[in-house]
């Protein structure tokens, strides 16, 4: 039997593209597909699902066409083109093992480490053999090939139900067509996007009469896209879907399911279980082939060269298994890997020119000028948090990042500058100006570490000015890239958490401590996610844990005269709970999350030990505590004389927190005791922003004549940014969240905004001069022109595309927010929550 030149395992976008390219080049090849159809992962998408084609800036190199569109269209195109290209497909060919048939490769031994339940590990060693490879199929057939392309993805390896009965016949791991089932009691397990989309699909048509319950292990649907979560909540409110959170499956029997909920065990009738709990690389199989992984993390990807070759010579890995979940990337890789195998080693990846431009202008390394690959490897090995990434992941990551050289003394960023990017130091060192009053006091940060993480995690402004200490090379990682890094490379997430915890603590104590003093405290620290409204500290309870608020915000309340009274608002970056450590008394107030928050919980024990060893730290803390106690006493003293005022203050504060002010950085408030309803704010907004108003004065909630109109709050972690395909939403230099001109009008941000402040509309034509209206009534006058006028004034208006429109906080206008400037009575103000939720509010009623 003559070996094939290339055997391709898996017919997803990557495998299919590779096979089609091999066919086009006339290479002998075989495409092995486990099922009886091509591209099983996309085949298993729900009927009619819209398939996205991101990233849009990437050129498609595959011999197959691919455009965003319906699942059916995409699959149809591929089926036709695969047949036309003459691809040699072998269906129902599940590969069970791959091994070399040549001589042992000297020094090439594959170590497979398996971790047992008791924590011990077992290491098995396999001697790698040279190609050609023998691919054994499930039916016993064998295929020989010089090279193998593994393009099996990760979806074929879903995480399985491990509870008793998890292997029953009515448990399934996919949902092909939600309209197939009717009159059933269905449980969807898993609160990721797949689970939510399945649950919504099953419940979409009331005529199907399905009773759908979605079961999620945690309290929040943190893994899913905001838009999906919102749709799910809407479906629940409409009574179409039931939601069980903090629930796990205990057992499954025919016709029944038993669940563990926070309130105890629940047994329910159940006709079908759809488990969508994610998937992982099929590590066992891949390792048996001699392919080593980058780390021991469960979610790690195989170690690959720049030509996608694994540690087993002649076995190449592409697609999702290589760490690339996006279809376009996969298809390009399929093309590229065949080019490499065919000897075209000079082929540059499709993104090469983009990356080349990023590295242009950087100083040469010691061995002369570096190639893109050299640079990527250099950055990966020099910056600690990047070390867990494969070189391919580095490529993708670098597309969203920038790298540049800073001369000694050059400013990287200033204190109070906005910014949510993360910096890594590849070479040289930077100096942190820790004391704003005296820039000469600096703390150096050395090569390998990161900075800027506070802005990334809390969404707040930069806490300190940072300058280059020596000539240095810094990589700036955009917020999106950093978030992706943290979710895809667990070791990076852990490292970032460790660094933020250390730095938060150092900041609390201001001076007199080194990172080494904190090791014990850090080791005991834990990151916890707190849902909105949940208390981390309860008044009267004993406890001495300290909490650092990483993101979100908290409110502090105290019961006075039997009623909870609002004491203060605690933004991200602050800490609470230190009083108990100092005085050892029960908690004096309740602290609860205003919005979903991430906190670092530090147990009191190691903390007290630290304080005992360093008495001057205690003094620092006492000084801070004194100011807080003074505030508490002030409000308590007011309680006696102005009980009504304190109640109103608490009421207003709670109302604002309910309105999402807790995650706001800047919010428009209207005092309805002053507002005469002239709508001059809306008119001013329209007149300063292309004729479209970004606020709706009348809509929105009101409490005690304080009105929160429908207008952007410029959230710390903007919901609108979460899912913007062209990445057109940014935070500007003065903290405003704005949408740039690359908006494609998809409406994701509008659906994602919980406050309804984004509208989709088209820009009307320019209005004639105001004086003409003033004197002769010409044109539509001040404010937003009517669509009727716009259609008349500009025939092209009707055909214009709608784009997302939102408040930009009047950035770039010298006068500040136009809505506030144009309010004739002083009813409208735009403030940060700290400014408004202070004692100043108390005086409101007395004026």
């Amino acid at each position: 039997m003559t070996p094939y030149r290339i055997a391709i395992v898996g017919s997803g976008p990557a495998g299919l593209s590779a096979a089609a390219h091999a066919a086009r080049l006339g290479l002998s090849h075989v495409l092995l597909e486990k099922t009886d159809h091509l591209s099983d992962t996309i085949y298993k998408y729900q009927k009619g699902k819209h398939v996205m084609a991101t990233p849009s800036q990437l050129v498609l190199r595959s011999p197959l066409d691919f455009d965003a569109g319906k699942r059916e269209t995409v699959l149809g195109t591929w089926n036709d083109q695969t047949a036309a290209a003459g691809v040699n497909v072998k269906y129902l060919a599940e590969v069970t093992s791959i091994s070399g048939t040549g001589d042992p490769i000297p020094g090439s031994v594959m170590k497979i480490v398996t971790r047992k339940r008791d924590g011990t590990t077992e290491t098995k060693e396999i001697q790698r053999l040279a190609p050609p490879y023998r691919l054994t199929l499930a039916n016993g057939e064998a295929i020989l090939a010089d090279t193998v392309i593994l393009a099996i993805g990760t979806q074929g390896n879903p995480n399985l139900m491990t509870c008793p009965g998890g292997d029953s016949g009515h448990v399934q791991y996919q949902l092909d067509d939600p309209t197939e089932y009717a009159d059933e009691q269905i449980f969807v397990i898993g609160g990721g996007d797949a689970g939510i989309e399945n649950a919504l699909g099953l419940a979409a048509d009331p005529a199907q009469n399905n009773k759908v319950t979605i079961v999620n292990r945690s309290a929040e649907f943190a893994q899913a896209k905001d838009a999906n979560v919102k749709a799910l909540m809407a479906a629940r409110d409409a009574g179409r879907v039931s939601i069980m959170t903090e629930t796990t499956t205990r057992s499954i029997e025919p016709g029944w399911i038993t669940l563990d909920t926070a309130e105890g065990e629940v047994r329910s009738a159940c006709d079908r279980v759809i488990a969508r709990m994610g998937s992982a690389p099929p590590r066992g199989f891949v390792e048996q082939c001699g392919v080593a992984f980058a780390s021991s993390d469960r979610l790690a990807f195989p170690k690959l060269s720049a030509t996608f070759e694994s540690t087993a010579p002649g076995i190449f890995v592409v697609g999702a298994l290589a760490g690339y979940p996006l279809i376009k990337h996969c298809m390009n890789q399929g093309h590229d890997v065949v080019e490499f195998i065919n000897g075209n080693l000079d082929l540059k990846p499709a993104d090469e020119p983009i990356l080349e431009a990023k590295f242009a202008g950087l100083p040469d390394g010691p061995q002369g000028s570096r190639s893109v690959a050299d640079w990527l490897e250099y950055l990966r090995t020099s910056v600690s948090i990047l070390s867990g990434m494969s070189s391919l992941q580095m490529r993708e990551f670098m597309l969203d990042s920038t790298v540049r050289q800073y001369r000694a003394g050059e400013l990287v960023f200033e204190r109070n500058a906005p910014g949510s990017s993360l910096f890594g130091i590849a070479q040289g060192e930077v100096l942190v100006e820790v004391n704003p009053a005296d820039p000469s006091i600096t703390v150096p940060l050395r090569a390998g570490t990161i900075f800027g993480e506070v802005g990334l995690i809390s969404g707040r402004r930069r806490g300190a000015t940072i300058r280059a200490g020596t000539d240095c090379i810094l990589i700036e990682i955009s917020r999106n890239a950093a978030l992706k890094l943290m979710s895809q490379v667990p070791s990076a997430a852990r490292e970032i958490t460790r660094i933020t915890t250390t730095r938060s603590l150092l900041q609390i104590f201001k001076s007199g401590l080194a990172a080494t003093d904190l090791e014990e405290v850090i080791a005991a620290a834990k990151v916890e996610t707190i849902r909105a409204g949940q208390a981390i500290i309860k008044e009267g309870e004993t406890g001495d844990d300290i909490f650092i608020i990483r993101s979100g915000s908290m409110v502090v309340e105290k019961r006075i005269g039997g009623k909870p009274v609002f004491l203060s608002y605690v933004p991200a970056g602050s800490y609470v709970g230190e009083m108990a450590v100092i005085d050892g008394k029960p908690r004096t107030a309740t602290v609860r999350a205003a919005v979903k928050a991430d906190v670092i919980r530090i147990p009191g024990e190691p903390f007290r030990a630290l304080l005992a060893a360093r008495p001057q730290l205690l003094d620092n803390l006492r000084a801070e505590m004194a100011s807080r106690t003074a505030m508490n006493n002030f409000i308590e003293s007011r309680k006696d004389s102005f009980s009504g005022v304190v109640d109103l203050y608490t009421g207003v504060a709670n109302f604002l927190v309910e309105q999402g002010v807790g995650e706001a950085t800047d919010v428009l408030l209207i005092d309805e005791k002053l507002c005469v309803g002239c709508d001059n704010c809306e008119k001013a907004c329209a007149d300063t922003h292309d004729g479209l108003s970004r606020l709706d004065r009348e809509a929105g909630r009101t409490y005690a004549h304080l009105h929160v109109p429908t207008s952007c709050r410029h959230c710390e972690h903007p919901h609108c940014m979460a899912d913007c395909p062209p990445n057109a939403i940014h935070r500007g230099p003065t903290g405003e969240v704005y949408i740039d001109e690359t908006c494609i009008g998809c409406g994701n941000c509008q659906r994602g905004c919980p406050y309804g402040v984004i509208r989709m509309d088209k820009v009307p034509p320019k209005k004639p001069w105001l004086l003409g209206w003033f004197l002769f009534g010409k044109g539509p006058g001040p404010g937003e022109p009517s669509p009727k006028w716009a259609r008349k004034a500009d025939p092209a208006y009707a055909e214009k595309a709608r784009k997302a429109i939102k408040c930009d906080m009047c950035a770039g206008q010298e006068g500040g927010p136009a809505c506030v400037r144009a309010c004739p009575t002083g009813a409208a103000i735009r403030v940060s929550p700290e400014q408004f939720l202070g004692v100043a509010l108390m005086g409101r009623e007395e004026r």
Partner: protein, 295 residues
């Protein structure tokens, strides 16, 4: 992003109304101006000695006249300032505050400019118009202080558009609920659907009495029928449903009418204030021209 801390454009974040803008800066300035003018008026003899005492012809008269004319023109520019927003810093609240307080001081300045000498001529017409403008302004201030709270309380969290939408929804419900009714009862529902004006006639708006309105009459008639049916021991559920809908519509109408009435009141005074201001500017021009032409 440059990494530079960009300072935000300065903005007014103090929470105070237009009357006490910047701690009552304009109120103080206006009071001081009045006191100064009164003191100068009281302490000076008209020079050259004028047999008729203080009037616009003295140096003080000219000074006050010029000051008053400039102020009137500047104060009337509020209407322009309000509509031209641009990017530059300004506070319309500050302008309103100055407008209100300096406008009040014109009572003193204008009256002392005339030296109390009023008659049936174009000069006194300007003074009279000015006083009407100022007094209508007082009315406006009173409304601006008292009505917003009522407007806010009446609308709750409902917008005007939602109020109208609620009425349309009720109409649709009434229409479908009336389908099974006989012709006489259906006519009553049609009365509510076709003869109800939200704002009503001018007379209704002024009196606030909407009892002759289609919906009110329909509600009264249907209410009588429901009661009669109950007395007869044959309660009519369909009519009760109609009555319920008519009641809800009546409540929704009342809220919408209060809303419209309050908004109208907040604007109504301007229908005196603004046209009279225009007349005042004309009279002022005539006054100044005549003084210089026919001296």
């Amino acid at each position: 992003m440059t990494g530079k801390a960009v300072t935000r454009a300065p903005r007014d974040v103090t929470h105070e109304g237009f009357l006490n803008h910047k701690g009552g800066r304009w109120a103080k300035l206006s009071a001081a101006l009045c006191l100064l003018v009164i003191a100068v008026y009281a302490l000076t003899d008209p020079v050259p000695p004028n047999p008729t005492g203080h009037n616009g012809g003295t140096w003080l008269g000219y000074t006050l006249g010029t000051l008053g004319a400039v102020m009137i023109v500047w104060l009337s520019l509020l209407g322009v300032r309000k509509r031209v927003v641009g990017a530059k810093p300004f506070s319309l609240k500050g302008w309103t505050s100055a407008h209100v307080w300096l406008g009040m001081s014109l009572i003193v300045i204008g009256t002392l400019h005339a030296g109390g000498q009023l008659g049936w001529n174009v000069h006194s017409l300007a003074w009279l118009l000015m006083m009407i403008v100022i007094l209508s302004g007082f009315w406006g201030i009173h409304l601006y202080r008292s009505l917003p709270e009522k407007l806010s309380a009446n609308r709750g969290e409902v917008t005007q558009a939602q109020m109208l939408e609620a009425l349309r929804t009720l109409d649709r419900q009434l229409d479908s609920a009336a389908q099974p009714l006989d012709a006489a009862d259906a006519a009553l529902v049609r009365m509510s659907l076709e003869e109800t004006g939200i704002a009503g006639t001018l007379r209704q708006r002024l009196s606030g009495d909407y009892s002759g309105d289609g919906n009110a009459r329909a509600l009264a008639a249907v209410g009588d029928k429901v009661l009669a049916a109950m007395r007869a021991g044959q309660p009519d559920e369909r009519l009760q449903q109609i009555r319920f809908l008519l009641e809800r519509k009546e409540a929704a109408l009342a809220q919408a009418r209060r809303h419209i009435a309050l908004k109208a009141q907040l604007e109504l005074w301007l229908y005196i204030h603004v046209p009279v201001t225009v007349a005042l500017l004309a009279a002022l021009a005539a006054h100044i021209l005549s003084v210089f032409l026919y001296w």
